[in-house]
C-alpha cells in the first residue's frame, strides 16, 4: 500500500531510533507500573467556595498519621500558602493534599520532585519522603495574579 522507497541507511537510522524509543517507553511504563512512579493527580473534588469550611481544608496544617508519616493539608490561595511553614523530621514521608479556593496555582519545592498543579474544584495529591535536612522553599509556579512572585512557603526538615 505505502510503497515508498526508503534508502538502506535511512532504514537503519529509523530502526535504531524507533527501537530506542520503544525501549524508552517500556522503561517509563515499568517505572509507572512496578515502581509506582506516577505524577501527582487524583480525582477528588471540592467546590472552591467550600474550601474554608470543609474538612480537612478548614484547618490546613501538618498532621502526624504514623511513625515518620505525615499528612500536609494545604490551601494555595492568592497569594499565600496555608500553612505558610511546616517542620518535619528527616526521613519523614509527607502526603500532600492541596486545593485552591480561587485561581489556578502551582506547588513546587525546588530541589525535590514535589511539583503539582493546584486547580480550583480539585484536590491534588502527591507523596514525598524528605531525606535532606534544611529549609526547603515552596513556590507557586503557575501565574496566579499580580502577587504571584510573593507567593511562597517553607518546609523545614530537621
Amino acid at each position: 500500500m505505502l510503497n515508498i522507497h526508503l534508502p538502506r541507511y535511512e532504514r537503519i537510522w529509523l530502526w535504531i531510533g524507533g527501537a530506542s524509543l520503544v525501549l524508552f517507553l517500556i522503561i517509563l511504563a515499568l517505572l509507572a507500573l512496578l515502581g509506582d512512579l506516577n505524577p501527582p493527580g487524583n480525582m477528588r473534588m471540592i467546590a472552591p467556595e467550600a474550601v474554608r469550611t470543609t474538612p480537612p481544608f478548614d484547618k490546613p496544617g501538618l498532621k502526624q498519621i504514623g511513625p515518620n508519616e505525615y499528612r500536609a493539608t494545604v490551601v494555595a490561595q492568592m497569594f499565600t500558602f496555608q500553612p505558610a511553614s511546616m517542620t518535619v523530621p528527616a526521613g519523614s514521608t509527607v502526603h500532600f493534599e492541596v486545593t485552591s479556593p480561587d485561581v489556578v496555582h502551582g506547588f513546587e519545592i525546588p530541589g525535590t520532585n514535589v511539583n503539582m498543579m493546584v486547580i480550583p474544584g480539585h484536590i491534588t495529591e502527591f507523596t514525598y519522603t524528605f531525606r535532606k535536612k534544611g529549609d526547603h522553599l515552596i513556590v507557586c509556579n503557575e501565574y496566579c495574579g499580580s502577587g504571584h512572585q510573593v507567593m511562597m512557603g517553607s518546609i523545614t526538615v530537621q
Partner: protein
C-alpha cells in the same frame, strides 16, 4: 496503479511558473500578512525586552506597566499573532506559485475575509492587553477572567485563520480538477496538510473560547469547568507547536534544495512525514497536564505514548536534510566523505539562517523528550526549563527559518534584489539571534533544573538561599535578552530596506522550488486521500480524549466563578 506520467521530467532549471512576478493582487495579499506579522514581532520583542530585564533584576518597570501585562503582550504577539500571520503569508506564496502561478478571485476573496477577521481580532485583543483588562498570559487559564473582548478578539483570529485554510483548500481543489490524475506539487500538498492540522487543532480552543469563556466572561453563565477548559486548550496547545514547525519543514524540504542548487531527496517521504504529524500531533495534549488532578494516570500515559511517536517523523526529517545537503554537494562535484560540506552556500543567508535553526533543533528535540517523559516532567514542569525549551524550538528553530524565508520572500514580492550587503547583515543578524538564544535558552534550561519557576516577576523569595544559585544565570539571561532584541531590530531594518529601498530587479525574482532527484518515482496515491487520514486522526483523537472528556462532562467538577487577580 496504472497512471501515465503526464509531465515530462523537468530539464535542469526551474519550471516556468517559478519565474515571473507574483500577480499584483496576490502580492498585496501576501505582503499584508507579512506586514502584520512584522508589526507583531516588533511589539512582542519590545515587550520581551522589558519583561526579560525586569525579571532578571536589571530594571524596574514604571508604575503604569505591569510585568505580567508585558508578559501577556510578549506571548500573544509572538506565539499567536506573528507566527500565524507569517505562516499564512508564506503558505499563500508557495501555493499560489505552485498551483498554476496565481490565486483565483474566489480564493482571494476568502483570503481577504480571513485577513480582515484576524487583523480586527488582533487589534481587539492587544487593546485589551494595553488597558490591563486581559493580563492572563497567552494561555488565558480560567478562572482568571479577562475582558470578553479579549476572548472575542482571539475567536476572530481563529475563525479568520479558517478562511485562510479554505483559501488553500480551494486552490488545491481547483488545481486537482484541472490536472486529473497528477500528483500535487509538494509545496501545496504540505500547505494543505498544515492547514488540516491547524483546523483540527483549533476546534478545541474555539470550543473553549466560544462555549465556555465568552458566555462566562459576559456573566451569562456563572461558573466554568476549569479542567475541561484546560483540556480543550491543550488539545489545541500542542498541535499549535507543529503548526509553527511544519512551515519551517516546508521551507527545508521544498525551497532549500533549490537554493543550494540540489534536488529533493524524495517526493514521497516528506508527504509521509506530514501525514504522521497530522495523525500524532493532536491526541497528545495531556502531556502538558501531567501534574494536575482530574485526569486518570492511564490516559496521561496513553497520550505520552502518542506524543513520542512524533519522534519518528523528526528523525526522518533529520535524515532527509543531511541527505539533501550531501546530494547537493556531490552534484557540485564533491568527492570523499565530507567534502560536500564545503560545497554548501554558507554565505547565503537564505540557507545559513535556517541551518542555525536546524542545529538548535537537536537540543530542542532532546529537551522535548524530557518534557514529555511522564515522570521526568515532574522535575521541569512550570520551571524556566520549559521556557528555555520553546525558546530553542520555536524562537530559534522556527523563527530563524522564518528569517531565512523573509530575506528572499519580501524582495521576491516587491521585485527587488537581496543585495550582498543585506545578505551579509542578515548573516550577522542570524548569528546574533542564534548566540543570544543559545545563552538565553541555555541559562533557562539550567536554572529551571534548579527549580526557578517560569512566568514569575523579579523576586528573591525573601533572599532564600535557593535563589543564590539562580543569580549568575540572571546576568546571562539579561544580556542575552538585549542580544536577541537587537537582532530583531536589525532584522526588521533589513526587511524595511528589502521591502521599499533595495534596487529593483530587471528580470523577475526567483521563487525557489526544488525538483525531485528522481521524478519518475511517483508518490503513492493513498498519501493524497485526505478523507482517510482525517478519519484515522478522528479515531486517534477519540481514543485519546473520548473517555476522559466524557468523564469531565458526566461527573463535572463544581466549577469556578470568574476572578480578576491582577
Amino acid at each position: 496503479m496504472n497512471e501515465t506520467v503526464r509531465e515530462p521530467a523537468r530539464p535542469d532549471g526551474p519550471a516556468p511558473f517559478e519565474r515571473g512576478t507574483f500577480d499584483r493582487r496576490d502580492r498585496a495579499l501576501i505582503l499584508a500578512h507579512l506586514g502584520v506579522s512584522f508589526a507583531a514581532l516588533l511589539i512582542g520583542a519590545l515587550a520581551g525586552l522589558f519583561q526579560g530585564l525586569q525579571r532578571t533584576g536589571f530594571i524596574q518597570l514604571p508604575q503604569a506597566v505591569g510585568y505580567y501585562q508585558l508578559l501577556t503582550a510578549h506571548g500573544v504577539s509572538l506565539a499567536l499573532i506573528f507566527t500565524t500571520f507569517f505562516i499564512i503569508g508564506f503558505l499563500y506564496s508557495g501555493t499560489a506559485k505552485t498551483l498554476d502561478g496565481r490565486f483565483r478571485p474566489f480564493e482571494r476573496a476568502l483570503a481577504w475575509i480571513g485577513f480582515v477577521l484576524m487583523t480586527a481580532g488582533t487589534v481587539m485583543s492587544l487593546l485589551m492587553i494595553l488597558t490591563n483588562d486581559a493580563t492572563v498570559l497567552y494561555t488565558f487559564y480560567a478562572p482568571m477572567r479577562a475582558a470578553p473582548w479579549f476572548y472575542i478578539g482571539l475567536a476572530l483570529v481563529i475563525v479568520g485563520s479558517w478562511f485562510s485554510g479554505w483559501t488553500i483548500f480551494a486552490s488545491y481543489y481547483r488545481w486537482k480538477k484541472a490536472h486529473p490524475g497528477e500528483v500535487s506539487p509538494l509545496f501545496a500538498y504540505m500547505s494543505v496538510a498544515t492547514m488540516i492540522l491547524w483546523i483540527i487543532a483549533t476546534l478545541g480552543v474555539a470550543a473553549e473560547v466560544l462555549f465556555q469563556l465568552i458566555p462566562w466572561s459576559f456573566g451569562w453563565t456563572a461558573r466554568i469547568n476549569v479542567e475541561l477548559s484546560r483540556a480543550l486548550f491543550w488539545y489545541f496547545g500542542h498541535p499549535l507547536v507543529y503548526f509553527w514547525l511544519l512551515p519551517a519543514y516546508i521551507y527545508w524540504y521544498v525551497n532549500i534544495p533549490q537554493i543550494i542548487k540540489g534536488r529533493l531527496f524524495s517526493d514521497s517521504l516528506p508527504r509521509l512525514t506530514f501525514l504522521l504529524f497530522i495523525l500524532y500531533s493532536v491526541p497528545v495534549g495531556f502531556h502538558h497536564q501531567l501534574m494536575e488532578p482530574g485526569i486518570g494516570a492511564f490516559w496521561k500515559f496513553l497520550q505520552i505514548f502518542f506524543t513520542m511517536i512524533v519522534v519518528v517523523p523528526s528523525l526522518m526529517t533529520a535524515f532527509a536534510m543531511l541527505a539533501t545537503f550531501e546530494l547537493s554537494g556531490r552534484l557540485k562535484g564533491a568527492k570523499g566523505r565530507f567534502e560536500w560540506v564545503r560545497k554548501l552556500p554558507w554565505k547565503d543567508v537564505r540557507f545559513f539562517a535556517p541551518v542555525l535553526g536546524m542545529a538548535m533543533f537537536i537540543p530542542a528535540g532532546a529537551g522535548g523528550v524530557v518534557n514529555a517523559s511522564y515522570q521526568m516532567n515532574q522535575v521541569v514542569h512550570n520551571t524556566l526549563w520549559v521556557t528555555g525549551h520553546f525558546h530553542m524550538a520555536l524562537a530559534t528553530t522556527v523563527v530563524s527559518t522564518f528569517f531565512g524565508i523573509a530575506y528572499w520572500l519580501v524582495p521576491a514580492l516587491t521585485n527587488r534584489k537581496l543585495t550582498r550587503g543585506a545578505n551579509n547583515l542578515g548573516i550577522l543578524q542570524s548569528w546574533l539571534w542564534f548566540l543570544g538564544m543559545l545563552l538565553l535558552a541555555g541559562s533557562m534550561h539550567i536554572v529551571g533544573l534548579f527549580g526557578e519557576p517560569r512566568r514569575t516577576a523579579y523576586t528573591t523569595y525573601r533572599d532564600h538561599p535557593v535563589v543564590e544559585v539562580w543569580l549568575p544565570y540572571w546576568q546571562v539571561m539579561g544580556v542575552a535578552t538585549v542580544f536577541v532584541v537587537l537582532s530583531v531590530l536589525l532584522f526588521l531594518g533589513i526587511v524595511v530596506y528589502l521591502w521599499a529601498f533595495a534596487p529593483r530587479l530587471e528580470t523577475a525574482a526567483e521563487y525557489p522550488i526544488g525538483t525531485p532527484l528522481d521524478p519518475a518515482q511517483r508518490p503513492p496515491r493513498i498519501l493524497e486521500r485526505w478523507s482517510l487520514w482525517i478519519a484515522v486522526t478522528a479515531v486517534l483523537i477519540l481514543v485519546a480524549y473520548g473517555v476522559p472528556v466524557w468523564e469531565m462532562l458526566q461527573n463535572p467538577e463544581p466549577g469556578s466563578p470568574p476572578i480578576r487577580s491582577w
